[in-house]
Symmetry: C2
Subunit: 693 residues, 2 copies
């Protein structure tokens, strides 16, 4: 496959950067990935996929050069390859990590593996699992998860697909009763899936029983043609996830057996009566929560891709006079040497680390919670973890999408070419701001959790809160969330004297975290008081007041989440101390920079809680110094992400730094260059101008 | 052509919004466009293009559904149509406005009309104009403007294409001596142009004479094949401007006659000696300046498109429970009724107005300057106008791109579909952050002008400054820029008592403008002092210090530009007073909102100059109230942009508000839905799973 990108000499400009590292790059890779073994195993797997030739023409040009239909085909070829390769491995799941990097525009089988199979495991009883899982794993049945409809996404109660139970026939009849009720968005639904788990409003004996999942076969297993009553298709081209064939599904009196209702949490008994188990919601919450945590890791990954491309490009792109030119000979400056350019790139490197840190911490919390659930049927920690992971998904995807776009623009004109890889990374990153919970709505969920908890504590006093069942704050919870306690205090955390000890503000991390908590405290309590005030003074209902205060509430949630991210980021950075001193030093510098950067870019949030302007100006000065100190570690830092050229798939981001040869040679492969002169030009312009004149 | 979007009933949800207008929508359209006559003429022209059937299949589906090569073809068909239509009009230029709206991904002839022909007029002597202009107008020759190279864009002195004069043969030999020197990016160069104006470093008698424009024929006029020595092609798919066939050009010993050097400003005389006229730079500046001013108008247009789509969608999209539901029946809320959603959309409407206002003011300044130049050979106002238009191009494109992206995300999942039109508008808007001067560099140009002027004044005292030749500030200039004088003062403008008169802060516009000027003053002087300090204390050269202080300098330029934009915006809004009282009222509300919004979103910039937190909190309160007051005018405000459905080309933004039918029916036309089952699926997944299992 390497023929796509070509082979070239290493650009000495990049080599010279690598020599400047203040730390061992390889060692940082291990630290980022967990340990050396993981890195080596990943590299082995990458070899399997990236270093052989593909027998298909589509795989010989960048995916960005293909049409929408070809992109789908390219992805199918790869999906098949990955699938069969997986069975040659001892642990087939190993291949999943590679699969994401290998599919540039998501896989048509993504939903099958990431939602359909997990949903089978989560929603089926044992009998059903035995019936469907083996076929699903062997791809005899390919499934998707159909929830969103044309008319409703965020508001699940508004979903309209109906499943009516027919007691006589022991069947359900499924219908899309309105235009708005057509299923709309499920990945793989358009052309790939032959089954779908359909979320529908269940009616038993005329009684509405709420949303439940049903297994619906949508295509014939032999012919792959849609079955009677099924209208199915693809949604059309998108900004990203281009190979995911997100689709629509219209159901017209589709009859399925009673046994096709997924029965782990509810079922129809032999007497035709509806039976539901408890704790259903919380179990479903668990899956959603998990996916959101994975998205945070994906953000770290996507940001690292974009900033690797942009930083490498910046180290070989020269533009403008070097003011330090010597002996009367003017030399040119690498754009990485402009302060403005470093101020764009360095925060992105830091953000990738911060997302990684948040991911690691949530993942471990998730494991704890899962253990409590399965071992002790203790569900009490879920609401907190759910609130935090929802909000952090929103925060990291917002910051991630901006970071990728900053990297893209930092490559000037060439960042606008799809061949740079950056528009593709942007499209696939920004998608996460919308799917798995639209970000605005997620921030508001976090805010609601914070509001309820804070009001509970202030109403009951912190001692009596254990008693409340709705929002239970037990010790365990407070521990997983040492960060939430500050909100219960009666007064705002005091920011104290910043940096007065060592003279530097950005390295006084205790002080900075105090500052972040003070800001979060202020924004949260301000917003919560606004809500209460509207209820008390204007007599609005809680829901009405909530809607009117959304702007403040979102700001509140963000401030809290940033504070939380900073805590976790710093914990992770600190863990490097034991590992390696040089690495620890550069990670700390980067973190100091990011702390200072966040303050400088949002200075109002901190001036509001008593930080003075002189301190802000001092921070700006410290940022300037840090940008100089970090200058020579920028390439080493992105190299340490250890991203294979085939993962980046970028004409300007390859490890050899050979930007111009590759750009030029890839341009020659572009679709319009395959015929010259262009027949349409001859037909529509040339011949017509001739005839007319 | 309307068959692309289909015909549907009007959605009553949108009808009900239109009835709520507090002003006459049609009248606001006239005000926005200049006068009633202009509106009517535009509508007549739109009829010509939009209301007939096209004889080509490509034009029957949204352009977003086509492959890169098809998009080029679609644009050629339209370009030909526009071109021939133009000659049926009394004033062919009338069609240009329509052309931009009509081409969804720019036209392959864009550069021919927007740069090549203007450059012929600007750089050719009379004889050359007579030789090339008529053919160019009749499309016998199709040209582009080739400046940027693979290795250099922003830094023009770095361009490497060579033109060596051969005195014996009276010819020039043009060469691309290095890989980096290959021309890279010119629009229309890839497949369309047969001529290019090539910027090259001129060498006469071994002496380097700097960059000059040359006319180079690149393709045969009959066969349209590249001529010997010419390697030409297209750059490949891009994030936007997809039909503009931006291309590359490699010149290998291409010989052109002496008379092909464009000779208005410099030429080789009969004795083979180089001769240059004066004031060249300034004239070229004039053209660049003009293009930048036009971009600001395009921003207003693009933002109005995005916000029209998102606001209409928000008025028909329902999601969530209406807290005011009555009689126990829960009704659903339109998303426009969420405060968070209004806070996204309203600023975008205002920004479109603000850009329009800036455009109008710069356009009139541009005309004044042009008159001074041509009538009195007075070039003194150019530097200021150049600095301001460069910076305002950067500011409005940055704000414009964010606004479009906010609108896109505000449409949830459907904003991710190309059929929504929003990803297309984003790609074509964000391009302007890079072309015609990359934004970071433009901000720095503005900062440099401000720095030089301010330092000049403070060094010489304002009385003696006329004497300086490099940056001349005459009275005329100070008049066109009443806004720059505040920077010359010794002390920062006093923000005084905000809103103390009427009790409301956001409507105390004089006070707010004082506040904006105080903030700009602070940020400018802070940055300038940093530069000086580095020179004085650290002994850095000016250029070195400048590079190190870029972050502060960019912030300085932005603060100044925002202040300027607010002045112009308010002048424009105030001009509505004489026109119509109801319109004036809504425009003012919107402006108050935007002022408050800018302060709230950048509160640190204002806290830094003495605004207190209580005032910020009061502003937030006022914003809340204004969002309620503006609620019912949101649809009327976007309707007043009067954008034809074919201009929006959006499944979710049409005037009839029929979102779901159109989305569903357009999806059916999507490329992947033209065959079912998908042959690639059968080949790569179905058959292989069969054989394997
Ligand atoms: C790439 C991609 C893949 C997807 N894959 C799947 C899939 O596999 N299966 C599936 O079922 N779905 C899928 N979806 C759908 C996705 O889950 C929804 O798009 C998402 O949940 C957002 O819902 P929506 O589109 O209805 O947005 P809406 O909720 O309609 O949002 C529109 C606007 O309204 C605002 N808004 C809505 N409610 C509120 C509120 N209460 N308060 C304030 N503002 C509000 C939002 O903030 C937003 O600005 C996918 C979507 C995308 C983009
Ligand atoms: C859609 C499109 C159409 C175009 N059409 C044409 C055309 O028709 N004809 C033509 O000749 N060209 C065209 N161009 C090229 C365009 O003019 C250049 O891309 C643009 O001028 C930016 O230059 P660059 O690409 O060299 O960016 P660079 O200057 O290389 O920018 C890369 C990064 O370096 C930074 N940087 C560079 N210099 C400095 C500095 N001094 N200080 C701080 N930071 C710096 C920038 O801020 C940016 O972050 C087009 C480009 C696009 C995207």
């Amino acid at each position: 496959m390497s023929s796509i990108l070509g082979k070239y000499d290493v650009n000495p400009l990049l080599e010279e950067e690598r020599c400047k590292a203040t730390f061992n790059i390889e060692k940082l890779t291990y630290f980022l990935e967990g340990d050396q073994e993981k890195t080596e195993r990943r590299r082995e797997l990458e070899k399997k996929f990236y270093e052989d030739e593909f027998p298909n023409d589509l795989i010989k040009v960048p995916v960005d050069y293909l049409s929408h239909s070809e992109i789908y085909t390219e992805a199918l070829i790869k999906a098949a390859r990955i699938y069969f390769e997986a069975f040659n491995l001892e642990d087939p799941r190993e291949v999943l990590g590679i699969a994401d990097a290998y599919h540039y525009e998501a896989s048509p089988l993504l939903l099958h593996f990431a939602m359909f199979i997990p949903a089978l495991m989560g929603h089926c009883n044992d009998e059903q699992q035995a019936r469907w899982l083996p076929d699903a794993i062997e791809l005899k049945i390919i499934g998707t998860y159909a929830q969103t409809e044309l008319g409703h996404g965020s508001y699940l109660k508004g979903l309209q697909t109906e499943a009516i139970y027919n007691d006589k026939e022991k069947t359900f009849t499924l219908n899309s009763p309105t235009l708005e009720s057509i299923k709309w968005w499920p990945g793989g639904l358009g052309k790939t899936a032959n089954h779908a788990i359909v979320q529908a409003q269940l009616f038993v004996d005329g009684v509405h029983r709420g949303l439940h999942p049903f297994m619906v076969q949508i295509r014939d297993l032999e012919t792959h043609k849609p079955l009677p009553g099924i209208e199915v298709g693809e949604l059309g081209p998108k900004l990203g996830f281009k190979a995911a064939d997100n689709g629509y599904l219209k159901l017209s009196s589709v009859v399925i057996p009673k046994s096709n209702m997924l029965m782990k949490n509810a079922y129809i008994d032999d007497n035709g009566r509806y039976q539901a188990k408890k704790a259903t919601d919380k179990l479903n919450l668990g899956t959603m929560l998990f996916v959101r945590v994975l998205i945070i890791d994906m953000m770290s990954f996507n940001i690292s891709k974009a900033v690797t491309i942009a930083t490498r490009y910046s180290a070989v792109r020269k533009q403008g006079i070097n003011p330090d030119s010597k002996n009367g000979v003017t030399s040119e400056l690498k754009i990485i040497d402009y302060a403005a350019q470093r101020y764009k790139l360095i925060p992105c490197i830091a953000l990738s680390h911060a997302c990684k840190a948040v991911f690691i911490s949530l993942m471990s919390a998730f494991k704890d919670v899962n253990e409590s659930m399965s071992k002790r049927s203790d569900y009490r920690s879920i609401p907190l973890l759910h609130a935090m992971s929802s909000g952090l998904k929103a925060l990291t995807t917002d910051l991630g999408a901006s970071a990728v776009e900053i990297c893209r623009r930092a490559c000037g004109g060439n960042g606008f070419l799809l061949a740079s890889g950056l528009p593709r990374i942007f499209g696939n990153t920004v998608a996460a701001c919308t799917y798995e919970g639209e970000n605005t709505i997620l921030y508001l969920q976090t805010a609601r959790y914070l509001y309820k908890t804070v009001r509970l504590v202030s109403n009951h006093g912190s001692s009596s809160m254990e008693s409340n069942t709705k929002v239970t704050l037990n010790l365990k919870e407070r521990e997983t969330s040492q960060s939430i306690g500050y909100l219960y205090r009666v007064t705002r955390p005091d920011i104290g004297n910043l940096g007065k000890r060592e003279g530097k503000i950005v390295s006084d991390v205790d002080g900075l975290l105090r500052l972040f908590s003070a800001s979060a405290y202020y924004h949260c309590h301000f917003a919560f008081d606004q809500v209460d005030c509207r209820m008390r003074v204007q007599g609005q209902s809680f829901e009405k007041a909530w809607i009117e205060c959304q702007v403040d509430l979102i700001k509140a949630a963000k401030s809290h989440l940033i504070y939380y991210m900073m805590i976790k980021y710093w914990e992770w950075v600190s863990s490097g101390e034991k590992y390696d001193l040089n690495i620890s030093q550069v990670l700390k510098r980067l973190a100091y920079f990011y702390f200072g950067f966040i303050i400088n870019e949002n200075k109002g949030d901190f001036l509001a809680v008593g930080l003075d302007l002189t301190s802000i100006e001092q921070i700006q000065d410290e940022l300037s110094t840090l940008m100089v100190e970090l200058r020579n570690d920028m390439i080493p830092l992105v190299d340490a992400f250890d991203l294979h050229d085939m993962v980046l798939m970028s004409a300007i981001g390859c490890k050899d730094g050979n930007v111009y040869d590759r750009l030029f040679n890839l341009a020659k492969k572009a679709p319009l260059n395959q015929v010259d002169p262009n027949p349409s030009f001859i037909k529509y312009i040339k011949d017509l101008t001739k005839s007319k004149l």
